[in-house]
């Protein structure tokens, strides 16, 4: 399902406007996905001479995941926390769907923005259901509606509503807790989510699974997301756009592919790593390429599905010692073929970038 389809045909969680009328009034933020814009947002901490975030200007389109990344002290978390005013801005403006965040009451603003962070912060004295119900209750939803919503969300994040709604956070693993954290941040159908290294404390396997599940969830419910991380691989995987920050300044704001293909300066090139060419191959899927015609012998040689990343495809070709690979569609019918040369040309000097 792509995002334009889901906007027209609401998924199970998209709440019909008749039902949400009251709530959208009380939060002051429209439902769907919100457009977020920083205009010269600046933060100078008391007693510091240099700003933590300096004149940050960038726009995040509705439904996009914007990753803020940079070394520690680059101002990424500060920038994110200025959005829901956990950190007050020194100067500049942040708008959500065009309206200034300062025009809203602090608590009202925050109730309209989902928040997920590394420490998760589930309330240990509340059941899963009560944790998820926190913001809907503040917004005055009915009991039935809250219960139905909690069930739906728990299922969506891959937990079992029958068992897990009544359990306490202490009874879950770290990965499960962060799933509940994500569900809680979406409980009131907030159009904007802030995620501060949400998967940072999880083991690599769990992290990978949660990243995949979150991307799947995001496709179904395309919220606008600001995602802070210090892990470039996570940024490339999660972001539609990546904002690279250094000492509070925005160095480059672009799609993952363009950042890898054309780093704005040496700092970005260093930051993304010497293997940026190989990293680009992870961004591309076989189906993204202009394929050569499928060979006559069909699926006889080396084959791979079109949703495989170029990186994996390259690895298979190298391991098998084959120069060509037949690309199959979702029903395993031959769709075309690529050659090893195509891949090397792609990331070589005359490369072009994926349009996303």
């Amino acid at each position: 399902m792509n995002s334009s389809e889901s906007a027209q045909a609401p998924g199970p969680l998209a709440i019909d406007p008749h039902q949400t009328g009251d709530d959208s009034e009380s939060t002051g933020v429209s439902r769907a996905a919100a457009e977020l814009a920083f205009h010269g947002a600046t933060k100078v901490y008391a007693g510091r001479r240099t700003p933590a975030v300096s004149e940050l200007t960038l726009e995040v389109a509705a439904g996009e995941i914007c990753v803020l990344i940079g070394p520690s002290g680059s101002g990424k978390t500060t920038a994110m926390q200025m959005v829901n005013r956990l950190i007050p801005m020194t100067s500049g403006e942040i708008t959500i769907d065009g309206s200034d965040t300062k025009s809203l009451d602090e608590t009202e603003l925050r109730r309209g923005i989902g928040y997920v962070f590394q420490q998760i912060g589930l309330f240990p004295h509340m059941t899963t259901e009560d944790n998820i119900a926190t913001v809907p209750r503040l917004l005055g939803w009915s009991k039935d509606r809250i219960r139905a919503r909690a069930r739906e969300l728990l299922e969506l994040v891959g937990l079992d509503p029958d068992e897990d709604l009544r359990r306490y956070p202490g009874e879950f693993s770290g990965g499960q807790r962060q799933r509940i954290g994500v569900a809680r941040a979406m409980a009131a159908d907030q159009p904007l989510m802030l995620m501060d290294e949400p998967f940072g404390a999880l083991d690599p396997i769990t992290r990978d699974r949660l990243q995949d599940d979150f991307l799947r969830l995001h496709e179904e419910l395309p919220k606008t997301v600001v995602f802070v991380t210090h892990d470039i691989d996570e940024a490339i995987k999660m972001g539609h756009r990546i904002a690279i920050l250094r000492d509070g300044e925005l160095v480059q704001y672009d799609t993952p592919d363009r950042i890898l293909a054309e780093p704005a300066n040496e700092f970005v090139a260093d930051f993304v790593g010497a293997d940026r060419g190989l990293k680009r191959l992870r961004v591309w899927r076989l189906g993204d390429l202009e394929l050569d015609p499928a060979p006559g012998d069909g699926t006889a040689g080396l084959t791979a599905r079109e949703d495989m990343s170029l990186r994996d495809a390259l690895s298979i070709m190298l391991v098998e010692g084959k120069e060509r690979l037949t690309v199959l569609d979702a029903e395993d019918r031959p769709k075309g073929a690529i050659a090893l040369d195509d891949i090397t040309r792609l990331i070589g000097p005359q490369s072009r970038t994926v349009q996303t």
């Binding site: 928040y115 998760i120 309330f123 240990p124 509340m126 306490y168």
Partner: protein, 239 residues
């Protein structure tokens, strides 16, 4: 003192008493059973009243002070010193000190008893609030709870185990101290103890002591039960 004892114990209804009572043995169970309603039951009720009132009033004061100290840092030290000062006054002296001011009354007894609860209840409540995990507080703030909502819905429930621990200590301490309150004639289980000290009748002395200890144990058990009801998540975590 030796002389008093030499005169022999003043034992109620001595002529009709059992041999155990006549010989003033350490503990005569039959006498306690026969005289429970007359000698002990009213005193037990008074004792419970003294304790409930003292812990109740003490909790209101200490809780209020702890909330104040939680939001106003400067308030903690002076109040803690004041509460510690009250706590160090010897109990017998405290009761006697109150007599010129509030007389031989329950008020005198309660003022002293309440004073002893405050230090523990104040400390435990404040510590409980301060030990609320920072991530829970942060999450509450980020979700748009107001300060009052954070206090009521997150901080106080999470401080509950520490607060309950304070109430348990304060209750047991008060039950023990309230026996001394009989010194100024306000009843309670101290009354039969004081009487027995004067008369030398051992059974009454021992029985009142056992009742006070029993009351403390029962009260503590009830509070543990109450905490389990109020904080079900603690058991779930341990399981």
């Amino acid at each position: 003192m030796m002389l008093v004892v030499a005169q022999g114990p003043v034992i109620p209804q001595f002529e009709r008493a059992s041999s155990c009572v006549r010989e003033n043995k350490q503990f005569c169970f039959d006498w306690v059973v026969d005289n429970f309603g007359r000698v002990f039951a009213p005193r037990l009720v008074e004792h419970i009243e003294l304790t409930l009132l003292a812990v109740g009033i003490g909790f209101v004061f200490a809780f209020g002070a702890a909330l104040l100290a939680y939001s106003l840092d400067w308030f903690e030290t002076p109040f803690a010193i004041f509460a510690a000062f009250l706590y160090t006054i010897p109990s017998l002296a405290f009761f006697q000190l109150m007599v010129p001011i509030t007389g031989l009354s329950r008020t005198s007894a309660e003022i002293a008893l309440v004073s002893y609860t405050i230090l523990i209840l104040f400390r435990n409540t404040l510590t409980g609030l301060r030990e609320v995990p920072e991530d829970a507080r942060m999450a509450a703030r980020a979700m748009g709870l107001t300060k009052g909502q954070i206090l009521r819905r997150v901080e106080l429930p999470l401080a509950l185990p520490a607060i309950m621990a304070g109430i348990r200590i304060a209750t047991v301490t008060t039950i023990s101290l309230a026996t001394v309150a009989a010194f100024i004639g306000v009843g309670g289980l101290g009354q039969p103890i004081f009487n027995a000290i004067q008369s030398g009748f051992k059974t009454q002395f021992v029985a009142a002591g056992i009742l006070a200890v029993g009351l403390a144990l029962v009260a503590d058990a009830l509070l543990v039960f109450l905490q389990r009801l109020l904080a079900p998540w603690l058991r779930a975590e341990r399981a």
